[in-house]
Symmetry: C2
Subunit: 372 residues, 2 copies
């Protein structure tokens, strides 16, 4: 209950007040003093009453709300958040916003956070360690309630004081505490099974640097070895042009650029089918590289899937736009984004996090199937 005698209810004064319009909202919150004075409460009580946070009696809250309305006072968001101790902001660091798969994840995170009245504060890491560190510092200038980083290249981000950690979606570094990941090895195994089911025996893998490709290849190699086969391998960088080059190399043509892989120790031998024969089943560790492989086949006049089956990874939007429509291993990007956002909310509420692993799924389209 208020300690001082409050002024009469504002309704009777409304006409008089509106003719002498109260100064509109200022960031420093000049108007809050007037509301506090008229309602006979402290400034802190006005803040609590209007933000619906903290203990205020219903009568006091009602009086404050009425006076705030009469005086045309709107609380400053900055001031309100200062009182609540929450910013309702979740930082999000993405390598490249324009990459379709990330767009899906961002959309999911935005949908979940939006339902909780929270917003995304976005920064780009440009797939670069220094830029990622800069993006994190940039975001931390704001009071974040949490943070999510996609494909992080940093083992640990900057020390955070208000919450226990960031959520990592598919980090390059392993073993981080709060992470949402895909079972890449299972995805590679799915791809191998699909090519074997399509009756292919001359197999090839088009991969790239980094943890994800290594895991996809491990699953692929395991299933291929289980069938008593080996495979050829060629390395790209997830771009279409690198897939085109890999395709040309695998088809035995002239290889420009020379971005060929050096096989790491212990990797699979060079393949059991003759060097002058092209593969009849190619698994690319990314849809863009698969697009390049398809183009190399079109250029040779090889029919897909009759002569060569092709399978990609990610199932990004482009997979179904390619010709023929690309069979791909789907990353459930939207559900993974939902999981990351929910994990951020859990940490914010002081609950524990822990790793979440999603299973990839085969999406069969036109680029695999029985040979002619």
């Amino acid at each position: 209950m208020p300690k001082t005698e409050p002024s009469p209810r504002p309704a009777t004064q409304k006409a008089a007040l509106s003719s002498k319009k109260v100064q509109s909202e200022k960031v420093r919150g000049a108007g809050i003093r007037e509301v506090a004075k008229q309602a006979g409460v402290s400034i802190a009580t006005v803040s609590r009453a209007l933000s619906n946070e903290g203990v205020v009696s219903p009568q006091t809250r009602q009086r404050v709300v009425e006076w705030a309305a009469a005086l045309d006072y709107k609380p400053s968001p900055l001031g309100r958040n200062l009182v609540r101790g929450r910013s309702d902001l979740v930082g999000l660091i993405v390598p490249n916003v324009a990459f379709p798969l990330y767009g899906e994840i961002i959309r999911a995170i935005g949908d979940v956070l939006g339902r909780h009245g929270m917003s995304i504060l976005l920064a780009s890491s440009h797939d670069d360690e220094a830029a990622e560190r800069g993006a994190a510092q940039h975001l931390l200038r704001h009071a974040l309630d949490g943070g999510i980083v996609i494909n992080s290249r940093l083992g640990a981000l900057l020390p955070l004081q208000r919450h226990s950690g960031w959520i990592h979606v598919a980090p390059e570094v392993s073993g981080l505490p709060h992470r949402v990941e895909l079972d890449n090895e299972a995805g590679g195994a799915l791809a191998a099974h699909e090519l074997l089911a399509s009756q292919r025996r001359r197999l090839a893998y088009v991969g790239a640097e980094g943890r994800e490709s290594a895991e996809r290849e491990r699953g692929f190699a395991r299933v291929v070895a289980g069938a008593g086969l080996t495979y050829r391998r060629f390395g790209g960088d997830y771009s279409e042009v690198s897939g085109l080059r890999a395709g040309e190399a695998l088809l035995g043509g002239a290889v420009g650029g020379g971005s060929g892989w050096t096989s790491s120790a212990g990797s699979t031998p060079a393949g059991t089918f003759p060097g002058d024969t092209f593969p009849d089943g190619i698994f690319a560790a990314g849809d863009l590289m698969a697009a390049g492989v398809l183009r190399s086949l079109h250029r040779r006049g090889l029919r897909v899937p009759q002569q060569v089956a092709v399978i990609g990874f990610d199932d990004a939007v482009i997979a179904s736009l390619l010709y023929p429509r690309l069979t791909s291993i789907r990353q459930p990007a939207y559900p993974m984004g939902v999981a990351a956002a929910n994990l951020a909310l859990r940490l914010l509420e002081g609950q524990s996090g822990g790793p979440l692993t999603f299973m990839p799924e085969l999406v069969r389209r036109e680029s695999t199937g029985p040979p002619e």
Copy 2:
């Protein structure tokens, strides 16, 4: 200069202080009192000194910084922004983050704002008027320094108190004061010129609802009419499947779904080439619809561009991934995003805005060219 005698320099006390660690940062800024007391200045002076805003003598600033370091005090971003009266946040409302063209615009906006120490607060309008209004209300709960909205469906957004207006990128509504637009009509004209230069005479337009398609068609129709020709037209919704359906309809096959256009009054007549002849030049008002048109041609076994030339619009990432690589009218998405961000910065500084119109550009690839 300080009015009270400050405490001795903190360096000598550092060891003692660190053993009795000061309570770490709290949002309410408990630590700032201690810094002010030790440095012999007011809390406001500490704030000004640490935020580099406002007038503080170099000596006082130095003393505050040293005491803040010794006491392990880090200013609360919320409190700092409250003092500065700026949030360094720019709201951004996008129909769909996952659409590649928008990704490019977002990336550009983030790059420009990042260089000015500002961040993007992201919300999605889901291409829907009610959702867009909700997104705006959501963002306005934060103290924004500015706002940008892409493809807005609302004529005017919510009343904003702290800045004069939002920047609109390619709004559906015309005549908004601060806008960044493409000259869509010029883009349509470019497409027509390219098809005519490719020696095509049996032309078709695949469009969609809304202002942008209407403008693109106007430019296309003008050039076609200038060459003494007419064209057939069919409507989609910017999706690939609608382009596929349009392609099948234009090729004279069975049309499923029946999403055909009703020609508006005054539109171009049905075309001068016989009804049983397929068009040899098709302009689609979006790359995804062009992808569908290409697929309909592949299904009929028609060769592109030898038998039918196809041209898209936007030059999104997918354009160069299609088979054959799609000739398209490029929207300079990145430069448009840069312009929108710069316009937001100008408005924030109290300068005037005004509309900016960008010229589209023809990007010639494999889907146009001379017939066989």
